[in-house]
């Protein structure tokens, strides 16, 4: 009930007493204000309390949840569907058509806890019977010398595992393992490289690449997000098998120490086949050579196609003529001085077997006949600086960017100084060394109309762009010159009916370690492009120390060794790639237009 500010009874009383009735009003007003203030404070206190409880509750809930999450064991979400991601710890590798080149298999490792072993002696004997490479005595010693853990085998076959089970000793234990498997054996061994176990534990072991693309793209292959998608290479399994078969046969027939071949698509830079012989089995990778005197090329692990940095000989001549044509110094018909021998300072430039193709030779014939002197004169017209710039543009000064771990180490050997005599020797491929992969990339640039593309081992969709290094006309003229080498030049054995092979031979003497060159050891190279009318593929074949002994006198020029091997490879692989031979149209049954 509201109290009036001026209660009549008190006012009248006050008036009678002679007091000021306004005092009463003021007093009442004060009391009312106090009451209002107390009420408001009470309400605010309650509100603050509620807010406080709300905050304490919220923070308490969050804190409790955090504590709970930290204290409990993590549990996999049981209800969610399993993802395809975590199938294998390392992605598969397939060829361009999806055929498997490398995959994983589940297997087991064998280890022992000698402390809980019942009869170490008999276990050691029985294990040695299952695994002939284990020594029973040594094994027993390891079981009894007080250690509590011994690794016995990294991987077991199911049969071996069963036999170990049958020993029945509680001290023998198995750990699950994922093992890398290369089902095609030695095929494409140098591309794949190999793999081994990294950090090993009882329950699992990591698989790491040790060479080739397995090591170069190790991060991609081990990426859990991409483990479900196989790595698709540009290699074609059928082509690779054919190339290796023919190359192997050629290497045996010509008594060569080694051989390499690269088949590449000139528009995309995709490497369809890359072979290096002798080869090895990546499932059972041999150890690197330890003999310090051994040459790296003696090991089957050596990838001649990528690591083999050789003087590539006359295959380089086409670069000199192409550059001269590009600069407008010559045309294919220009006659150049080819009078052999040519004297330059104290050096004498000779032709093969001291021939003389001169005094004058057209640029086309310089290539067709492989004239050192003619090329030397063309190179002198170009000059050292421009020659270096052109070879640099063709990628001869840098390691190839191909996705192999061996590639960055294969740096071309370039002369430190570049006087004019180096210009001369480089023009015919001496004094400067590069790998067959460099040569394949440079020939691809000539074949595809003058664009330098990046060679790759990964499948590409569609053509790629690159830097133009020569005009289309120069490239076309160069291919026509290379075609002449096969039709009427040094590579006449390279003709494959219907496939218009164009190419250039190269025979280089092997350098001695002590300096100088061997008389009877050569590296033969045939760099070819086919079909010449519309070049699509580049094939490089290199043979190490080949010798054709079909006639009385051994022949070591590329025309007799690398060329027939290359032509057989082309004859076999071109149909596999769906390339139709261009033959004379059958005239007999064809309908001919005629009129009366």
């Amino acid at each position: 009930m509201r109290t009036p500010l001026r209660p009549l009874a008190r006012i009248l009383q006050a008036r009678e007493d002679g007091l000021n009735p306004d005092q009463i009003e003021k007093e009442n007003l004060r009391l009312r204000h106090e009451a209002m203030r107390d009420k408001a404070r009470g309400r605010a206190e309650v509100r603050l309390l509620i807010l406080c409880i709300a905050f304490v509750g919220a923070f308490g809930a969050i804190g409790a949840r955090m504590g709970l999450m930290a204290a409990t064991q993590p549990v996999e979400p049981r209800a969610s569907a399993p993802g395809a991601e975590i199938i294998a710890q390392r992605a598969d590798i397939t060829d361009r058509n999806g055929r498997i080149l490398a995959t994983n298999m589940t297997t087991h490792a064998l280890y022992a806890h000698p402390k809980v072993m019942v009869d170490p002696k008999s276990v050691a004997t029985k294990l040695a019977a299952i695994f002939p490479d284990l020594d029973a005595k040594a094994l027993e010693r390891r079981f009894t010398d007080g250690r509590s853990f011994v690794w016995i085998r990294r991987v077991l076959s199911p049969e071996q595992m069963q036999l170990v089970h049958e020993i029945g000793d509680p001290g023998l234990l198995f750990g699950p393992r994922e093992m890398r498997l290369y089902p095609n054996g030695t095929l494409a061994a140098h591309v794949l490289g190999g793999s081994s176990f990294g950090a090993e534990g009882v329950h699992s072991a990591e698989v790491i690449g040790t060479a080739g693309i397995e090591k170069a793209l190790d991060a991609r292959l081990r990426d859990p997000a991409q483990a479900g998608t196989p790595l698709t290479l540009s290699i074609d399994l059928s082509l690779q098998a054919t190339v290796e078969e023919v190359l192997g046969a050629g290497m045996t027939m010509l008594n060569a120490k080694g051989a390499a071949a690269i088949l590449m698509d000139v528009r995309t830079g995709e490497i369809l086949a890359l072979a290096s012989l002798p080869t090895f089995d990546p499932n059972d990778r041999p150890n690197p050579l330890v003999d310090p005197k051994a040459e790296p090329g003696d090991s089957p692990l050596f990838n001649r196609a990528v690591q083999g940095v050789y003087e590539l000989g006359s295959t380089f001549k086409i670069f000199a003529t192409a550059q001269a044509m590009e600069l407008g110094l010559v045309t294919p018909e220009t006659m150049v001085d080819a009078n052999a021998p040519m004297t330059w300072g104290k050096h004498k430039i000779k032709e093969f077997e001291n021939k003389n193709y001169g005094p004058l030779l057209s640029v086309t014939d310089v290539i067709a006949k492989s004239s050192n002197v003619g090329t030397a004169h063309i190179a002198l017209m170009i000059g050292p600086l421009r020659q270096q710039a052109f070879l640099k543009a063709l990628g001869f000064f840098e390691p190839t960017p191909v996705e192999l771990v061996e590639a960055p180490g294969a740096r071309p050997l370039i002369p430190k100084r570049w006087p004019e005599i180096v210009t001369i020797t480089t023009s015919y491929g001496h004094g400067m060394s590069a790998s067959p992969m460099h040569l394949a990339a440079a020939y691809a640039a000539i074949a595809n109309g003058g664009v330098m593309i990046k060679p790759t081992l990964l499948k590409r969709e569609g053509p790629t762009t690159g830097v133009r290094v020569m005009s289309e006309k120069t490239a076309m003229d160069s291919v026509a010159m290379l075609r002449r080498v096969v039709t009427e030049g040094t590579a006449s054995l390279g003709e494959v009916p219907g496939y218009e092979v164009a190419g250039k031979t190269g025979t280089a003497d092997k350098p001695r370690k002590s300096g100088g060159y061997y008389d009877d050891k050569v590296i033969n190279t045939f760099a070819s492009v086919f079909p010449a009318s519309n070049p699509q593929y580049v094939l490089i074949v290199t043979l190490d120390e080949p010798m054709d002994t079909t006639l009385s006198e051994p022949r070591r020029t590329a025309g007799w060794t690398a060329v027939p091997v290359a032509s057989e490879i082309i004859r076999r692989v071109a149909p596999l790639m769906g390339l139709r031979p261009k033959l004379e149209p059958p005239a007999t049954d064809a309908v001919t237009a005629a009129s009366n």
Binding site: T103, N184, S238, P581, P585, P586
Partner: protein, 117 residues
């Protein structure tokens, strides 16, 4: 009226409790089944990868080449060669179908008569 409401809500509570109990067990059974299925899937995936590896191993080019050589008598397979590409002009025109027989046929004829070839 109020008593009915109480009884009904009591019954509703019992029904909901029963439903929650059943759902709980159904969920646990489903989770168990999912786990079993996942184990099965893992096993099958492993088996699949082994089969894939074996398929690749059995189809490796070396083995196929050897098999083609060993069975040359039956299969007559040779590596593909440029000569195997045909020409559209080499393909014969399809044989026209035989005309319908709407006349008596002498089945004792000496020579088979084919028309419309």
């Amino acid at each position: 009226m109020r008593a009915v409401l109480y009884v009904l809500s009591f019954l509703a509570v019992i029904a909901l409790g029963f439903w929650a109990y059943r759902e709980n067990y159904a969920t646990q059974a489903a989770l168990k089944e999912v786990e079993a299925l996942q184990r099965q899937i893992v096993g099958l995936r492993e088996a699949l990868s082994v089969h894939r590896a074996e398929w690749a191993y059995l189809n490796r080019p070396d083995r196929l080449r050897d098999l083609a050589t060993a069975n040359f008598d039956r299969l007559g397979l040779l590596p593909m060669e440029p000569g195997q590409f045909g020409n559209a002009a080499q393909v014969a025109y399809p044989r026209q179908g035989l005309p319908e027989i709407d006349f008596p046929v002498d089945i004792q004829a000496d020579q088979p008569v084919e028309e419309g070839l």
